[in-house]
Amino acid sequence: MTDFEITPQLIADHGITDEEYARILELTGREPTYTELGIWSAMWNEHCSYKSSKKWLKTLPTTGKRVVHGPGENAGVVDIDDGETIIFKMESHNHPSYIEPYQGATTGVGGILRDVFTMGARPIAVMNALRFGDPDHPKTRHVASGVVAGVGGYGNSFGVPTVGGEVEFHPSYNGNCLVNAFAAGLADIDKIFLSEAKGVGMPIVYLGAKTGRDGVGGATMASAEFDDSIEEKRPTVQVGDPFTEKRLLEATLELMKTGAVNAIQDMGAAGLTCSAVEMGAKGNLGVHLDLDLVPVREDNMTAYEMMLSESQERMLMVLNPAKQAEAEAVFKKWELDFAVVGHTTDTLRFEVFHKGEKVADLPIKDLGDEAPEYDRPWLETPASIRIKPADIPVLQNPVEALAELMGSPNQCSRRWVYEQYDTLIQGNTKQGPGGDAGVIRVLDETGRRKHLPTQKGLAFSVDVTPRYCKADPFEGGKQAVAECWRNISATGALPLAATDNLNFGNPERPEIMGQFVGCIKGIGAACKALEFPIVSGNVSLYNETNGEAILPTPAIGGVGLLTDVSLAMTIPFKNRNDVVLLVGGHGNEMGQSVYLQHFFDREEGSPPPVDLAKEKSNGDYIRSIILNRQINACHDISQGGLGLALADMCVSSGKGCVVDLGDEDAHIALFAEDQARYIVTCHPDQVQSVTDMATTAGVNVIPLGTVAGDTLKVTGVGTISVAQLKNAHEEWFPSYMAG
């Protein structure tokens, strides 16, 4: 093939700066070939190299007594006792989902599932955190419906239950939707597979689907090297194939049992390049690849295209040669490609051959290790001003206002979304979407019940409040972690560890970089205080259109452990006459509240600060009263405050309640978004012991009233029927989507 001249334009099209290119020249020792330029650009782009974020990511707490593998592997690995681990990660597919919502979302889900089963884990739960533009923006409905269908289309067909997620609308996402997918899988602690290659001369094997031109960088198109048929060569959107992924899962897990796997790595962004370089570099080995052996599905693919293709459902493995026949038979059985495409060497070079020509010969360690790391200038976000409760406008009837809020785009039921997801497949769902956290029973690897006296469960939640992060990145970062931790605690599970998906605008703008730095510091502080280390994650930058950045959106996905899944607590009120208690006291933080935003169109003030010590003691208290079987319903208080939390408990149970706010100002007590709070209910006989325990633990518990009737009644303030709340809650989403 004829190589292209490396022009400044071509370099710029690859997103490589002048300084970076100077360094590339030095490391290559000559001018790179076109294919090499592609390889450098893939390894050094933001997505693979984390060049803007690395410095700050290093500050996050990533270790703990249950952490088996933290960041750096395909996914984080956390010990859940009995020789078992939970392996999980979250990843974004924002940009592709805006271009082609259905396929962008499917391939996002597919990619994260692969990250998890590459390590030897069988996926047991997925979640998705979605953010769309203003409901009135002309693209929003189309993007939302395509994304939701795509998330479901892949997960349902693959056969993994969706147990939770988030959906939010805000104008800052008009030109940049967010699609963050989370996946978790189970593996025995002694059967975890890593990407570090071991030994010289080991065969490198290509597994899975064939390679096409999917997602080959925009740079190829811009460099206009098209000859005969532009249509043929055009970079294309990646299309997900869940059926192939399902076979890839089964084949991979079966393969791992044969002892054939020396190292394994899924092909994600910049597929073959990243996976081959990573396996070699980690093992201090060189890699020799022969592209003529790569299974392709299109004619005349160039080396450049093969190295950069992002075709889905593919893996790369270093093989234990003694097991080749056995390994190959497994892949044949599942009707997948299995091709030896190279081997490891002792040269520490990344050598790629195509049609008898050497198309790349690069220092393999430098591709990763020497990637630029920037200390980008950042501007601290100006401090936001706390709004005093006295300055908050009063609503005539704050109780009736609850119906309006329950029916608003961001607070209404997400049923329209999650009913499109299979939440029950695998038969282990204790609680699907709609609770504080999803809860899954843990079965052993054979899919049969462990004959233990109790069955374990895992709880999953994903959270962030971007408005808070914008107003105060540090407190917002803390809050995202705290809310996730709280949601897990509200089911009775012990939060173990978390993954993050940091979605921000352009890091080259100091104010955006300042948001990033502030959020990371907040996340770090909270993770440390709550003993909730970050074990994996993903950074998505440059989420902006026409200079308009998205709200800073660091989504936190967390996992918690329940030693007895039958104790998992739920939101709905259970029995009439149960006593309703407020844990954590009345609040008065109204800055950035849903109340101000929705009723007065004001996104203002400082967000509620997070007192991490209080968060911890209140959460620990909640967990103990759940595990002691002292309470029978629990819901955390987050956006919308006490009022919305009570309304949720009414709507989910169909039962009303009568509560008394004492001397509090009703609109403040109902809508303040102070953190570290929960509502619980218990039998009247349990009130004494619940409050005694609170006193001992130093937790503020206030009896509010009782479960009663068919209305939500706030004594002396107002009443609204549960039916009205329910109708409002269920109405908005389906009618909006129907157009």
Binding site: G212, E231, E232, T236, Q238, V239, T244, S311
Partner: protein, 80 residues
């Protein structure tokens, strides 16, 4: 006026459905099959003053709704 819109995947876009059909035909012992691609048709009965008007309305429909032009091509065929 009756029209048929034919929507096909662009060349190079992965077609898992076509692939699966190919595999199934193969398993059923049909031989000599080189390539299968799946697409869809939409038959629309539309009131229009003439062919030109119909075509222009249908083109707009394809662009706005019926085809996903990121990955699909469409063709319009006025039938009577």
């Amino acid at each position: 006026m009756k029209a048929r819109i034919t929507i096909t995947l662009k060349a190079g876009v992965l077609d898992p459905q076509g692939k699966a059909i190919e595999g199934a035909l193969d398993a059923l012992d049909f031989s000599g099959i080189n390539k299968v691609r799946q697409g869809k048709i939409i038959d629309i009965d539309i009131d229009a003053a003439g062919e030109t008007e119909a075509t222009s309305a249908l083109t707009e429909m394809c662009e706005k709704l019926l085809a996903n032009t990121v990955i699909e091509n469409y063709a319009i065929d006025i039938r009577d």
